[in-house]
């Protein structure tokens, strides 16, 4: 499953403000004709475990449709918990499909309130942080692969795992899907099937799925009988209600302990942007007056590879006591295009996450913030690997509160690595030269300096045994005419096989980025494959730029410029190894169509 659902802001303007009618504060109930009788087949009320809704803003905004009982529990809402992004999706659906009218301010207040009162605990959210961070990763819900397959037919499974509901509420969620999507029961959605258990699907009436399932030898009951087996949607409901229930000990504990985090102050920033390398700097967080759990930031950071320095300002809101959602702002050259999704550790000393931008959020920096007090803080180094039997290798150490006077002995890279000279010192950077002994044991090294340790900082290696390309499975989207395109940045990284000299073992070392030659090769997935001629081009920086979208009359069938290719990196050794055979590695790149519909939740960062 690819965690996806990328932004298409230019085309699809269904962000909350666009849908919200500013003049109406109070929600408008549906017309009388749409006020039906209560359903007869489901439990109508709220479960005994339902979480009360006490915020008057939420009650006013949602109360015309969601009734409240004497224990302040509102139908549907009280039986659900979710991430801020998922609550925003719900609010957007209420606006776009149920014609709820809310001002942007009220909508944001509702999202904030529900994320705090009906949110996820840190332990529940950590595993699916990739969803809010908009990472393109290959993720499968191992708890039940059938459920994973069923849900990820249409959307990221991370979106599903961002929910907690009672069993009745999971049932209602499935019912909502069946109401809006006519084909979801059948072949396109796979919610239901006709055959008996163990058939792997049977007839789907007079449609394609049943025909093909049976043609492949399934023993499905072509009478379409469904009563003798558990339907896929029923299995998913049972799995989800067991694994992701409304009530959990994690939420019980966190909802009691939750508070506004104390974040104001200085933070040391360390990041990594694929294709551009490490970035270091400092960031200051200040309380944002008048905004509950609101903060502002100012930061300055330097890409160590190029020395380029970047300033960054942002505003953010913390949801549920630990979920940082920010957006760049107040900078003349950045009208809010960068978003920040971060996870605040419970000890308040470290924040991790991703800053991202691009039409599909494809450009991102992995961020770690460490609180700066009075002691030195080490953020990292500009080099990621040190070769054995070398001397005077220059290393820049980034951080904060570095002393003015530093001695070589103050900087400790561990066994076999000796700091031979302090080249320069500054409060946020110390430059040193190091010697690496021939006998230095290959492996990662911690860096200790001034009482601060970062682990690991560099790895020691003897030679580059191989290279690898990341991401190993890339995704690009054609565009540039009507829809924006989605480029993909690749990076080649050196690999050492470690002490055992064997590939793919536990002691393999990632040596960091290496300079390679890039090219594309055909990935022959179908006969007469000609994708490489159309999909786009890769630059020697590793950046793949897709071709434009739309039918191409030069392709058979007027197909779009989509397809899949290999991205190949070739590394020529330098120095003593220059005559060695070039190392090659490859990644798969899927070039697909633009996202025509935008389902992203971006209001939570405002």
């Amino acid at each position: 499953m690819i965690a996806r659902g990328r932004v298409l802001a230019v085309v699809f303007s269904l962000s909350v403000p666009a849908l919200i009618v500013a003049r109406a504060q109070a929600p408008v109930p549906p017309p009388a004709s749409a006020q039906p009788q209560r359903p007869q087949t489901q439990n109508q009320g709220v479960s005994d475990d339902g979480i009360p809704v006490t915020d008057p803003i939420v009650v006013r905004a949602c109360g015309s449709c969601h009734t409240r009982d004497d224990k302040q529990r509102m139908t549907r809402i009280s039986d659900r918990r979710a991430t801020p992004e998922n609550w925003e999706l719900t609010i957007r659906r209420m606006i776009s499909l149920n014609h709820v009218q809310l001002t942007p301010e009220v909508a944001r207040a509702v999202i904030k309130s529900l994320s705090d009162s009906h949110g996820l605990a840190p332990e529940e959210a950590r595993g699916i942080q990739f969803e809010a961070e908009r990472r393109l990763i290959d993720f499968t819900y191992e708890g039940d692969k059938d459920t994973n397959t069923l849900c990820s037919r249409c959307h990221s499974i991370g979106r599903v795992l961002s929910e907690r509901r009672t069993k009745d509420e999971w049932t209602r969620l499935l019912a909502m899907h069946r109401y809006y999507y006519p084909g979801i029961d059948g072949a396109s959605g796979g919610f239901r099937r006709g055959g008996p258990p163990g058939t792997g699907g049977g007839a789907a009436g007079r449609g394609r799925a049943g025909d093909q399932a049976a043609a492949r030898g399934g023993t499905g009951d072509q009478s379409g009988r469904g009563g003798e087996q558990e339907q896929p949607m029923d299995k998913a409901r049972d799995v989800l209600s067991r694994a992701f229930p409304l009530t959990s000990k994690e939420w019980t504990a966190w909802s009691a302990a939750m508070r506004t985090p104390k974040l104001a102050g200085r933070w040391a920033l360390a990041g990594y942007q694929i294709g551009r390398g490490p970035v270091f700097g400092q960031l200051t967080i200040a309380d944002r007056q008048g905004v509950a759990d609101g903060f502002t930031t100012e930061s300055k950071m330097t890409y160590s590879r190029t020395g380029e320095t970047v300033s960054h300002k942002s505003r953010a809101i913390v949801y549920t006591g630990f979920q940082w959602r920010g957006r760049s702002a107040d900078a003349p050259d950045d009208p809010g295009t960068w978003r920040e999704v971060e996870f605040i550790e419970r000890n308040g000393q470290q924040i991790t996450g991703r800053w991202f931008t691009g039409a599909y959020d494809e450009t991102g920096i992995d961020i770690t913030l460490r609180r700066v007090a009075t002691d030195p803080v080490v953020s990292g180094t500009d080099v990621s690997a040190l070769k054995t039997s070398t001397s005077n290798q220059r290393v820049r150490i980034y951080g904060a509160n570095f002393p003015a006077s530093v001695q070589p002995a103050d900087v400790d890279f561990g066994q076999g690595v000796r700091v031979s000279r302090i080249v320069s010192t500054a409060p946020d950077m110390v430059t040193v030269d190091v010697d690496v002994a021939a006998t230095a044991r290959p492996g990662p090294r911690d860096l200790s300096f001034g009482g601060s340790t970062i682990s690991p900082s560099v790895v020691v290696y003897t030679k580059i045994d191989n290279i690898k390309v990341v991401p190993v499975a890339g995704l690009a989207r054609v565009g540039g005419v009507t829809f924006p395109n989605r480029p993909e940045q690749f990076e080649a990284r050196g690999v050492s096989y470690g002490a055992d000299g064997k590939p793919n073992t536990a002691d393999d070392l990632d040596l960091g980025p290496v300079t390679v030659r890039w090219n594309l090769e055909e990935y022959t997935a179908t006969f007469r494959d000609d994708d490489i001629q159309f999909v786009g081009e890769i630059a020697q920086s590793g950046l793949f730029t897709p071709n434009v979208e739309g039918p191409n009359p030069k392709r058979s069938g007027n197909r779009n410029n989509i397809g899949d290719v290999w991205v190949v990196a070739t590394y020529n050794s330098t120095g003593a190894d220059a005559s060695a055979k070039p190392l090659k590695a490859r990644a798969h790149l899927l070039v697909t169509v633009p996202l025509y519909m935008d389902w992203d939740s971006r209001e939570v960062g405002k």
Binding site: T219, S223, G227
Partner: protein, 393 residues
């Protein structure tokens, strides 16, 4: 609109030969040769016959294609929305079209290309989705398989799958038919007997209902027809639904699979079901893969289409000899379905996309492609030339 992209290699060859002859100075003879070559090429052009092809597509239309010229000769513009399912009546005079929302049924007279009626059961906040429709032979009523989805104030309510008898003239539900065995089905392959007195539920067991009160009068299991046949699994209808154009009334031709008792290999075979005599003629063809089978108009041949990722095959089945006579790989395309032409000489490959590829049924050689100006959204019917125009209802 539409283009027919023929390779026309034979014509080019003929022209080349003709040019060579002209250079040689034998002008008159060369002219005759050119004319003869053109004539030969025309005679050798393999066409599907003189029937009519119907296929629904985006947006809101059914293309009518003359089989002989392979040109679009007209369209039926559907009023109910994007057609998703075409049901051809046994007399080949009407289409019952279900739209993409599954809420609207449109009855189209094929002869006049006009919409005779549209109806839906949805009202207010209640959507009634019609999963399938089977009109009785007189077009007086239809059996509908429906499921309701009702939008309530803060939730939706999904109803059970329901089998209903619907009066096509009065536009009202006459009755709700009890599910066989009292067990709800998500899907139902339904078929009336030619006289309309019986209704068949088609599956591995075939349930037979009288159509007076829709009570079950009989039931037979395909697996029990012959001792030792094993567990039979039947397929009724490919992409787009059940197509009985080439079957004689009361018969159904379909792919069946069986599993042998010892090695548990699943085999695909050809099944001819005589609904009147409760008989099944079945023989295996080979390992079960992704093969679908269509009957040729002469009922002496049938063709199989195997579609696995990256491997596509045509099969030819000699119905009289009860065996697979040939199979061959071809280029194919992902997501395809097949129909035979009205004269049985051409195989049409279609489904995803806006094209219909023509192949020679005898040699499996690619012939031409019919291009449509929109994507196909329904199954595909080849209607032989017939007398009569519009139907009466």
């Amino acid at each position: 609109m539409m283009r027919s992209t023929a390779p026309a290699r034979s014509l080019a060859l003929a022209l080349a030969i003709g040019c060579g002859a002209l250079v040689a100075g034998a002008g008159l003879a060369a002219t005759n040769l050119l004319a003869q070559s053109k004539s030969a090429a025309a005679e050798n052009r393999i066409t599907g016959g003189n029937g009519t092809l119907y296929i629904g597509g985006y947006p809101n239309l059914v293309w009518i294609i003359d089989e002989a010229t392979e040109k679009v000769i007209g369209t039926i513009h559907t009023k109910g929305g994007i057609p998703r399912r075409l049901n051809l009546t046994r007399d080949k005079k009407l289409f019952y079209i279900i739209d993409a929302t599954q809420e609207v049924v449109e009855v189209v007279d094929i002869g006049t290309r006009t919409t005779l009626d549209t109806f839906k059961l949805s009202e207010g906040n209640k959507r009634v989705r019609i999963n399938s429709i089977e009109p009785d032979p007189t077009n007086r009523y239809a059996i509908l398989l429906t499921r309701t989805a009702t939008k309530l104030t803060d939730r939706v309510d999904i109803g059970p799958a329901t089998l209903q008898q619907y009066d096509l003239k009065e536009h009202k539900v006459l009755r709700t038919i009890d599910w066989p065995d009292g067990q709800e089905r998500d899907n139902a392959n339904l078929m009336f007997s030619p006289d309309g007195k019986l209704l068949y539920f088609l599956g591995n067991e075939i349930l037979i209902f009288e159509t007076g009160n829709f009570k079950q009068v009989d039931k037979w299991e395909l697996s029990n027809i012959e001792e030792g046949l094993g567990q039979v699994s039947a397929t009724f209808g490919g992409f787009g639904g059940l197509d009985t154009v080439n079957d004689e009334p009361g018969f159904l031709t379909t792919a069946l699979t069986v599993e042998d008792p010892v090695q548990h290999r699943r085999m695909i075979g050809m099944g001819r079901i005589d609904l009147n005599k409760k008989d099944l003629d079945f023989y295996t063809l080979g390992p079960a893969g992704g093969v679908t089978i269509v009957l040729a108009p002469d009922r002496q041949h049938a063709y199989g289409l195997e579609s696995a990722i990256g491997r596509y095959e045509f099969w030819t089945i000699d119905v009289a000899q009860r065996k697979l006579t040939s199979r061959a790989e071809f280029a194919g395309r992902p997501r395809m379905a097949m129909k035979t032409s009205s004269n049985g000489k051409v195989l049409y490959i279609y489904q995803a996309g806006h094209t219909i590829d023509l192949y020679d049924a005898a040699t499996y050689k690619y012939l031409r492609t019919i291009e449509l100006d929109g994507d196909v959204t329904t199954g595909f019917f080849v209607v032989p030339r017939q007398t009569g125009t519009s139907a009466t209802r």
